[in-house]
């Protein structure tokens, strides 16, 4: 009896003494509800941010945006003619549904990517075959060399994601329950309220140290909760009140308030992206090169950026397509950037025989900086002799109208700096801009087929120069993004597509 009581007492004490381990949860405020959990079928950043924790690709990008292996063992062996890619897969990788990953899954996934993904389709006509050469060997054969292929395979946006072949639907149907090989798997999802990611215990991390998206994905937090918060002020309040550990895409004017907080700190993501004026080369006023040159000459880029971002902490007047520090950086052609020369523009309009047809600027207030830039530009363009028609619509309408070349001359958008210039489709005649010029088209073709990195860099410099000379599209400058994180949070690299697998709280 005594022994029984002693045992029972010991057991009770053990229960009392055992600490209840609190779950380590990272709460992340994102700008909206992801409309799909399948990154293959969407080019939205919010989809990439969430899904990269669950679904993986063969390759990824490291901190310096160089391609690095992820599900592939190493970088592929590329044949001398640049047409054959031999890919060896990592072994022992498991999907979160328990099945093992092998070459059949990769082949089925890549075939779907070529068929349904926007970025996959851009390369589909250049791919001859995707074949399993063994249980962990895949071969991609190209009809012509295509240098951006690895970047496309590494990108988390319209991603060449690897799924179990069993869940891939025939035709262009949707995947019902997305599973992947990533460090987390989908938990509970209440649309517009939260999306819970829970640690995937069968995950096999890479051995290399973490380096950007590459290397070890640590599975540090037990859970990551993405909370869609469409209103930027609400994201700020949630961050400052301690409700969120990380908040994406915050308004520039909240910088000082966040900096003064004892709970959170601002994170400035320098050279996040570039606002652009997309030019209609298919129809309308700007099919006339002289008028395009007048447009470029008249625009006051510095004033536009100041109006858009209000504080030079958030922008840089820079005409190079890639900022200093990137491999792709070049100043070729940039002497035509920020001319701010109304007299020259007037002269060019005269030479073009401009008849006062309004220049239709299609823009939206979804991104207030687009609209502010347009307002400043309108005055400068009118001073230079343009008649300007501002078509201010909501984002949905802009998305629809820009597909009809009869409805606009310029539309305003922006892009992050993408790791590979060829991922920006505006360089190519097939884009909705329809920018086609014999010499430029030849350069664009050479750029994607050349496999020597040094030669590609030289061709890109020529392309950038050509963009200024022919006014293909207009880069307004560089801008920084403002993010915010809890002072207790560590291990998050600033990125346009932030990830949290190595994040922890002090």
């Amino acid at each position: 009896m005594k022994a029984y009581l002693t045992t029972a007492l010991a057991a009770m004490l053990a229960v009392v003494a055992t600490p209840v381990l609190a779950k380590d949860v990272i709460n992340v405020a994102i700008i909206g509800e992801p409309d799909t959990l399948d990154p293959m079928v969407s080019t939205k950043d919010v989809v990439s941010i969430v899904t990269q924790h669950v679904v993986e690709t063969l390759y990824t990008f490291d901190k310096s945006w160089a391609v690095a292996p992820l599900l592939a063992q190493d970088l592929p062996k590329i044949s001398a003619d640049g047409k054959t890619y031999d890919i060896t897969l990592r072994q022992g990788i498991t999907f979160s549904d328990g099945s093992k990953m092998d070459s059949a899954d990769v082949v089925a996934s890549l075939e779907r990517w070529l068929k349904v993904a926007s970025r996959g389709k851009t390369v589909a006509d250049k791919v001859q075959s995707v074949t399993a050469k063994g249980p962990y060997e895949v071969e991609i054969k190209m009809k012509t060399p295509y240098a951006p292929l690895l970047s496309l395979l590494a990108f988390s946006n319209s991603a060449a994601a690897v799924y179990p072949s069993e869940i891939i639907p025939k035709g262009d149907g949707q995947i019902k329950d997305v599973v992947g090989t990533g460090p987390y798997k989908y938990g509970e999802h209440v649309p517009d309220q939260y999306l819970q990611l829970v640690r995937f215990d069968g995950f096999v991390p890479r051995k290399e140290p973490a380096n950007g998206g590459s290397g070890k994905r640590g599975q540090v937090p037990d859970e990551i909760r993405f909370v869609p918060v469409p209103d930027p002020s609400t994201r700020v309040e949630g961050l400052l009140s301690g409700q969120f550990d990380f908040a994406d895409s915050l308004p520039a004017e909240s910088y000082d308030r966040i900096a003064a907080s004892d709970k959170a700190k601002p994170v400035l993501l320098e050279n996040f992206g570039w606002p652009m004026w997309a030019i209609n080369h298919k129809a309308g006023l700007l099919t006339n090169k002289k008028i395009r040159e007048a447009l470029l000459a008249a625009l006051p880029f510095d004033d536009m950026l100041f109006a858009a971002f209000g504080n030079d902490k958030f922008f840089k007047v820079d005409g190079a397509m890639y900022p200093k520090g990137w491999d792709w950086h070049t100043d070729a052609g940039t002497k035509l950037y920020n001319q701010n020369d109304p007299e020259k523009a007037q002269q060019l309009l005269k030479e073009a025989g401009y008849d006062g047809t309004p220049l239709r600027i299609l823009t939206s207030r979804q991104y207030e900086f687009h609209y502010k830039m347009a307002e400043v530009a309108k005055q400068a363009l009118e001073a230079a002799g343009f008649k300007v028609q501002m078509d201010v619509v909501d984002w949905a309408t802009l998305g629809q109208r820009r597909d009809d070349p009869s409805l606009w001359d310029v539309y305003i958008s922006h892009s992050p700096f993408l790791p590979e210039p060829a991922l920006t489709d505006m360089w190519f005649a097939s884009s909705r801009l329809g920018w086609s010029e014999p010499e430029k088209d030849k350069l664009a073709e050479a750029f994607v087929t050349e496999t020597d990195p040094a030669k590609r860099k030289a061709i890109f410099a020529e392309l950038q120069k050509k963009n200024y000379e022919d006014v293909g599209f207009i880069k307004i400058g560089n801008f920084n993004a403002l993010l915010g994180e809890s002072k207790a949070l560590q291990g998050v690299d600033p990125s346009p597509w932030p990830y949290f697998w190595n994040a922890s709280k002090k």
Binding site: G32, K44, Q193, A396
Partner: protein, 313 residues
Amino acid sequence: MRNYILKRLFGMVVVVFLVLTIAFVLVRLAPGDPAALMLGPDATPADTAALRARLGLDQPILIQYVTFIGHALRGDLGRSLFFNEPVLSVLAHRAEPTAFLALFSLLFSVAIAVPIGIFVAYRRGTVADQTAVSGAMLAASVPSFWTGLILQRWLATDLGWFPASGYGGPDASFLDRMGYLILPSFVLGIVNSALILRFCRASMLDVLGEDYIRTARSKGMSESRVVLRHALKNAAIPIVTVIGLTFALLVSGAVVTERVFNIPGMGNLVVGAVLRRDYPVIQGTLIVVATLYILINLGVDLLYLLIDRRVRY
């Protein structure tokens, strides 16, 4: 009475059908392409066209309308283009926060407005009366998003008394979720209390001048009995009407408040649906809201029977 209810229900069917048709036409008259929004900024025109075809948006509008009506008659309001689930299920998920937000804010409104309205009507012309009337004017004039932002910053961010936004995570209990609604309900309650207070005051003023109130006083009744038993009962019909209308408006989606506090209710849903051009959700929300509005009005009309026995239908 039964005939009256049946007549009202028949009227409701006609109104809902009209709402259904108007909603269908209006959302399609608005420019904007749901397929382009769903695919993201880098989708090609060909991808967008393919998705439009898959969603049935490339069909002639008449065929879309007939299909929609046919499904609606069978109780199927279609599938959300964005969430890819039935509209009724999407709406059902949003019902809890919106219903409780409406209920709590109505309770706040009534708790603030009715006692003050009665008191200031009784003390007509005093400083208290003028202060209450001016306060009500101010509360009605200040936009609810402004009140929401100020109180959110002060009470949630700075003082930490309430959660700043949202409706709780996976581990939130029912009580936790209700905790998220206190501050938004208070914000919404303040705005709506202005209207109820003014109606309550005006209605009480009308009644307090009636002969039967004088008679009651001359019979030696206490003032509290005169005001609360005789005056309030007779002033109740306009007050109940305005409370009913306020509740119907609240249920139809406290759009701005839900947005500011990021509450996943019907108001937030419909704003998102408009921005995403999620036609079935917009249509479904309008139909559900119209039905609720009519039912609440019917409920209020039937409540008159309890309040005033002279009322006959």
